[in-house]
Subunit: 168 residues, 2 copies
DNA sequence: ATTAATTTTCAAAAAGTTTTGAAAATTCAA
DNA sequence: TTGAATTTTCAAAACTTTTTGAAAATTAAT
């Protein structure tokens, strides 16, 4: 397969993959394009490659920067701004995990904490099931939270690597 | 907080949480309702509790069954069908992981495999960056894949439990 | 077999999300 | 400063997804 075709396929499926996980398709596509671009690119480059509007590029680049996945790059002598993405996939993954944990997991765990001390008689089976379910999720979430913290802190892949050898 | 209010909050935030992960809000809400319901419920119960249409309940229940998260229950002497959800959160999580792996991760890894043997000179920096990025993602995905398989196979939580004690 | 209860389907409507593009704001070179 | 290049904003349009609800299909009791 030719590079042009392979790039197209990669960008398109990274976009589709993203949408399955609640990520805007264009945002994922821009991310894909930047990850396979050896050098920093401009907003116009992205507009051309993906055939999308300037506003769309601008907003999604902003989001990618907020997610910590893309950086603005100043190239001396160039008028335009350039953009580049982290290419080490381990770093990309830990960054995404860190952000999603902060944005979604942490607030959910906080809420579950509050919901757990609902009023009412624990002998009422409705109250009992509610408390059991909520506390089960909270405990599980707390464990996941700790595990993710460990993964995110580990600079290298040795942890998962050794784990997998052990269990292969 | 009263149970009625706590239930409302739980259902509503489980729905919102779901949408952030590409899950239909109503599907997540029905799942939430079933997880906190001590006894099996009917489609009409769900319509009333969530104020949604019969069609909506029916389609989303079907999806939940396909995801392996909800079961149809026949109650002797009852005309209507009843539904119930798995309440052990560890089982719920492994089931979700299993399905998402099958639906999303596996096909993506298959595609990356193909894309990796793109034509062209590896000394061309565009080809090189493409191959490096794709193979990096493929390797990482393969590792994640193996790790998830291990988690899903473990019937009990001893694995993660002991891991966390080790790292606490 | 008939019929009433229940479930399923799916086209159309509603709701939600994303994208566009032109105007406003900003930046930088002369 | 001035003005051309570039970036940002955001209301409206396009697109996508979800929901409704009534008709069709199915089920089970008589």
């Amino acid at each position: 397969m030719k590079l042009t075709e392979a790039k197209k396929q990669f960008i398109s499926s990274w976009g589709a993959f993203g949408t399955h996980w609640g990520i805007n398709k264009t945002m994922a596509q821009i991310h894909a394009l930047l990850m396979i671009s050896p050098d920093p690119v401009t907003q116009d480059d992205i507009m051309d490659e993906l055939s999308i509007s300037r506003g769309n590029v601008n907003m999604n680049i902003r989001d990618l920067i907020n997610w910590g996945l893309v950086d603005r790059v100043i190239i001396p002598g160039e008028r335009k701004e350039f953009f580049t993405a982290e290419k080490d996939i381990w770093k990309v993954a830990t960054q995404i995990i860190k952000e999603r944990k902060k944005r979604e997991l942490d607030p959910m765990l906080k809420l579950l904490d509050q919901l757990e001390d609902v009023d009412g008689d624990k002998k009422d089976k409705n109250v009992k099931q509610f408390v059991d379910t909520v506390s089960g999720i909270r405990k599980f979430g707390g464990q996941a939270d700790k595990m993710l913290q460990v993964m995110v802190k580990a600079d290298e892949n040795w942890f998962v690597g050794s784990l997998l050898k052990f269990f292969k």
